[in-house]
Each structure stands twice: as C-alpha cells, then as structure tokens.
Amino acid sequence: MTQISNSPKSIFMSFERIQEKLKILADAAKYDVSCASSGSKRSNINKGLGDATGMGICHSYTEDGRCVSLLKILLTNYCIFDCAYCVTRKSNDIKRAAFQVQEVVDLTINFYRRNYIEGLFLSSGIFKSADYTMERLVAVAKKLRLEENFNGYIHLKSIPGASDELMKEAGLYADRLSVNIEIPTKEGLKLLAPEKNREDFIKPMLKVKNEIIQYQSEKKIIKSTPTFAPAGQSTQMIIGASGESDQQIMWTSNYFYKKFNLKRVYYSGYIPISHDPRLPQIGTDVPMLRENRLYQTDWLMRFYGFEVHEILNNEHQNLDLDVDPKLGWALRNMAHFPVDVNKADKFMLARIPGLGMKSVHKILQARQFRNLNWDHLKLMGVALNRAKYFLVCDSRDFERRDLTGPQLKSIILQNTTSKYQNILSPQLNLFG
C-alpha cells in the first residue's frame, strides 16, 4: 500500500514545484468557508485507511480562528469565467497552477496518515468545460476510494453545469457535494457574474438531491446499496457584495434548505479583492458581525424551531447588529414572556434569550427531580444575565416591572459590556 519507501528521494518528481502549487491552490481555496467534516457514516472497511463516522475534528485553527479540518485546495485556478467577486476570475492577474490527479491523492493520503486532516475538500476553477473539470474532480475521489482504500472524508465541489452522469458518479465517492450559489439574488448574479445563471447551479444540486433520496429508499430494501453523498449537500453565499438585505439572504437560504434538503448553508462576509466599481472597494471592512448574526439566524431556523419569517419579514428586513436575533425576536414579542422553566415545553424554553439548547435539555432533565429555582439554574451553568428578564422559576423573585421591549433592550445593553464585539466568527458559541 502507500507505505513510503525509505529512499532519501522525495516521493514527488519535484518537491519545489509541488510546494509552489500547494501555496497557490490553497490560497485560492481559502475563501470557501465550509470546513465541516461531520455527518458522514463512512466507517473503516477491510482495514483500510481512515474513518469518517465521527463528529468531525478541527485539527488546527487558522490565525483568524477558523477550523482546519480538511485539506482545502483547488485542483486548478485556471478559469474560463470572470465572476467579479472571485480571485480566480479570468481577468485577474495572478499566478496560475494545476495539480495532477495523483499529486492531490498523495498529499491527501500523507496528510491524513499524519493526523493533520479529516480528509479532502476539492474545488476547482472551470477549465475547458464544466464536464471536463468535474471529470477530474471525480477521478481524484475515485482513486482515493478504490486504489487507496481511503475512508476519510471527501467533499467535492459540484461544478455548475456538470452532467447528471458525472454528478451521479461523484456522489458514489464523495461524502459531501456542494455548489456555491454565492450571490443571494438573481439580480446580483446578473450584475456580478453575467455569464452564469441560476439554473446551472440548481441542476447538479437537484440531481444530487434526487439521487440521495433514491439511494436511501433502495438502502431500506437492499442493505448492501452503496451510500450516496452520505453527508449531503451544502452551499455558500457571499454577504455584502451585492447590496442584498438580510431578509433576501435568509429567505434564499430557507428556500434552499427546504427545496434541496441542504445540510448547511454557509455565509461568507465578502473580502474585497478587486477595484471593480460594482463591488465594495479594497480596504472596506469584512462584515463579520453581520455574518455572525446570519449564522445565529440560521441556527434558530435549524435547531430552535423558528420560522424564517418570524425573524425577518417586510417590516423587519435586516437583523439588529446590537442584539442577537433571538433576543431581538423576544423584545418584539414580549407577550410570550415570562416563560415558566418548570412547566414550559421545549419549544418555548428554546425561545428564552440567552438559553442554548444544551441548557434547555439540562432543564428538562433536572426538573424531573425537583422544581428549579435561581440557585439550581446557576449551579447548572445556565447563563442568566439576559435570560432572567424572560423567565420565572421556583422563587418569588422575578422581574416584576412591566417593561416594554425598547426599555428592556436598553437595560440589557447597559449591563452587557459589548461582548458581541468580539464574537465575530461562526465557529464560536453562537448563543454563549
């Protein structure tokens, strides 16, 4: 197998060349924020290499605090398209490089064996055609699975416009597939990437979704049916490049979650990379706080039982930056509070500002033993500084003033020393 020989020679034809390619093609791939390596059920078979059954591990963190879990590279940064928001765009004057299939395989296997990574995230600029590019991405995954008996995580980018046959093959070897829709609105896409259209993104996504459903139903009948993209699909949107509102972003996100059963939507604050007048200029701050608020909203939709229109609607098109979206919702809906922690159901507990799902579960379990009071809640580690205004427990002590939303907001903001200013990364505790 891939035991490396002990010869002093490098396993690469030219080490320097590989080094240069890796620098270029990792640098070009870093704007894709997805790093997830969880959700697959691929286990080690026949004593091969790797296992992707776990939670997904961050093996390191970049200096901006993002998880490093996968070897995230482009196969090539040559591209025939000229999307304004992308560093790889044709008109950009940068160094170009391309990996050979075997080189990517060698890097992945050797990084994996050293416990640097959970697997590979391979994307690419589009060279020649969509199918030509997709074919090569699939070839890498196929080689890893069939020749190297690799059971680690593989995330492949679905190239917009790739054929159904190739997407089908990709799903047999990859754990996750993703197409980045990048621009949340059709109008924005028209402005910034006129050569592209929504349908090209949606087609491979739809194919993968349908295949996943079909494989899953077959697997129920025939156990030996192979898995198809077991970690599902994801996508990414760039935030702040085309003047869209938070409502437009999250409604688009909601649409994709529902319509294509996406596992994740990522939000990536636009990092200015060009002097193009259609885009925010170089030197403009990355909208990291806004990005964080969008992730919080996404969490509320997926885990807290919120519907998107409760948080964002025509009256309320953008998220507050000074309070998190759950607190914002509560302040606009004071009639639902206070919530009795000893009686309320999970759904209402989850709506108490400051309470994470972990605390909700702890409360549900602990209250079987006794009625909970403030001391119990504190002992359990429930963060009360905001929650205390929105709940009652087994105590005569509770907020008795009949405060309006805006009054309460100013009290809370006075008491919390702008902690949110540091919480800028989606990797952080979202409701800590």
Partner: protein, 259 residues
C-alpha cells in the same frame, strides 16, 4: 451499623484498584474514607491505612452495579472523571456512586445536584482533553515505518483515545507516547498495546532528526506548514480567538506551529 472510624485506603492508582476500594468500603460499611495512591504513600496521622490489592472480580461487580444504576453516559462519566488524576477525585466518585446506588431515577441527569455537577464538570474537562488529543496528535514517520507521536496531556487520556486511532489508522503501525506519564500505545496492525520506551536523554519532541525520521517526513511537514500559512485570511486575523482554540501549551507538538 455504620463504621465511622477514619480509614485511608491505599491502592495501586488504577481504575480497577479504585473499584476494589469501593467494594471494601461497602463491605466494611465505612463512612469516612480517604484514598491514597501507592506512589505517594504517606502515613496518615489519624485512623488506619489499609492496603487494598486490586481484585478484578470485585472491581467488576462494582462496575456492573454502577452500570445498572446509571445511563451509559453516567458510567462513562465516572471512568472519565477518574482519569483526571485530580487530588481527592476518588472520594468525590465514591460519594457519586453511593448516591447513584440509592437514587430511584438514574441520577446522572440530576444537574442541580452538586456531586453530579462536579463529577460531570471534571469528566467534561477530561473529555475536552481527549478531543484535543484526537485533534492535535501529529504523527511523524520513523525510519522503521512507524508513525510516531508525542503527547503531554493534562489528564491520563491515552485509554480514552485508543479506539479512535485504532479504527482510523488500521493499516499503519503507530505509537502515541505520553511523555508526562512515560507510557504509550503501540498499534502493530493487529492490536493496541501499552508500552514503555527508553528515550535518549537529549530527546527533543519538537525536532525531527533524520536519524529517526524519514526524509519524506520533513517534506510533508514543510508542505503542511505551507498549507497552514496559505489558509490564513489576513483581513480576518484574530489571534485571541486562535489561542482560545489552540492553547499555547500545545504548540510545541503541532508541526504547523513550529516554523
């Protein structure tokens, strides 16, 4: 009748040894027990010291008892907390076990109970260290074809990470060596065994010398360091967050941090 005399139970420091102690404390109805690991035996001023010889059968009976009174998570929590090696962890766990035995509902979900809370907090920090080790182990390929890693975890987590590495690296020989506790795990393509190494006096875990390690090892470390640097986005730099995720005390084992 409870026996309220003070006892010090001295045992070998293993989990089975501890469970044997629990067995004795029940058998003798002792209510006032402190524990001592054999490595640091001190004469206690009061009461009597009893040396407990680890007895697998008795340990097993206690373990089964714990399992029948707690959820799977609850019993794992006892073992995990034990590996924290904290002073007086045994007394706390004995208290936990005593309460679990008399509780009607499985006690491990009683998060407003102080003992449950303490034990689960300790188990949580051990668990966090386990996850860190699963993430931060960096193998280096030796000239003998073995993937070798050093660790110095805050707690004795090797027993907890064995399974993870065995199922992941089934087709390569590996050693994960705890320099602090001076023992390691060795996987020989069939099973994982405990082992001890006589490392040279001047052994430096942060160096990759070519008398031990292959040439390609140095190449891959270089590539990994390059990769790590290329993934940074300067305009988002946030070192505070970085250090929060990767505390500095681990840096010396992370090849990407050794440049």
């Amino acid at each position: 009748m409870l026996n309220s005399e003070e006892y010090t139970l001295s045992y070998d420091g293993t989990f089975d040894g501890f469970l044997t102690c629990v067995f004795h404390s029940y058998e003798q109805k002792m209510s006032n027990v402190t524990f001592q690991r054999n490595q640091h035996v001190q004469q206690s001023l009061f009461g009597s010291t009893i040396e407990i010889i680890t007895d697998l059968e008795k340990a097993d009976r206690v373990w089964k008892g714990i399992k029948s009174k707690t959820s799977a998570r609850g019993s794992l929590r006892v073992y995990t907390a034990f590996l924290s090696e904290q002073a007086q962890i045994e007394a706390l766990l004995l208290n936990y076990i005593q309460q679990a035995f008399i509780s009607v509902l499985p006690m491990d979900f009683d998060f407003a109970n102080e003992t449950v809370l303490k034990v689960s907090q300790i188990a949580k920090s051990v668990g966090r260290e386990k996850h860190r080790m699963e993430a931060f182990v960096r193998f280096k390929l030796t000239t003998d074809g073995i993937y070798f890693a050093n660790i110095e975890p805050d707690f004795d987590v090797l027993p907890l990470i064995s399974k993870h590495f065995k199922s992941r690296y089934a087709d390569q020989k590996w050693i994960i060596y705890d320099l602090k506790r001076n023992y390691g795990l060795y996987y020989d393509l069939k099973r994982v065994e405990m082992m001890q190494l006589a490392l040279p006096d001047d052994y430096d875990p942060t160096k990759t010398k070519t008398d031990f390690f292959t040439n390609s090892e140095i190449e891959f470390q270089t590539l990994w360091q390059d990769y790590f640097e290329s993934t940074n986005i300067a305009s988002r730099k946030n070192m505070k967050l970085h250090v929060q995720h990767v505390p500095k005390r681990y840096w010396k084992y992370l090849s990407e941090k050794l440049r």
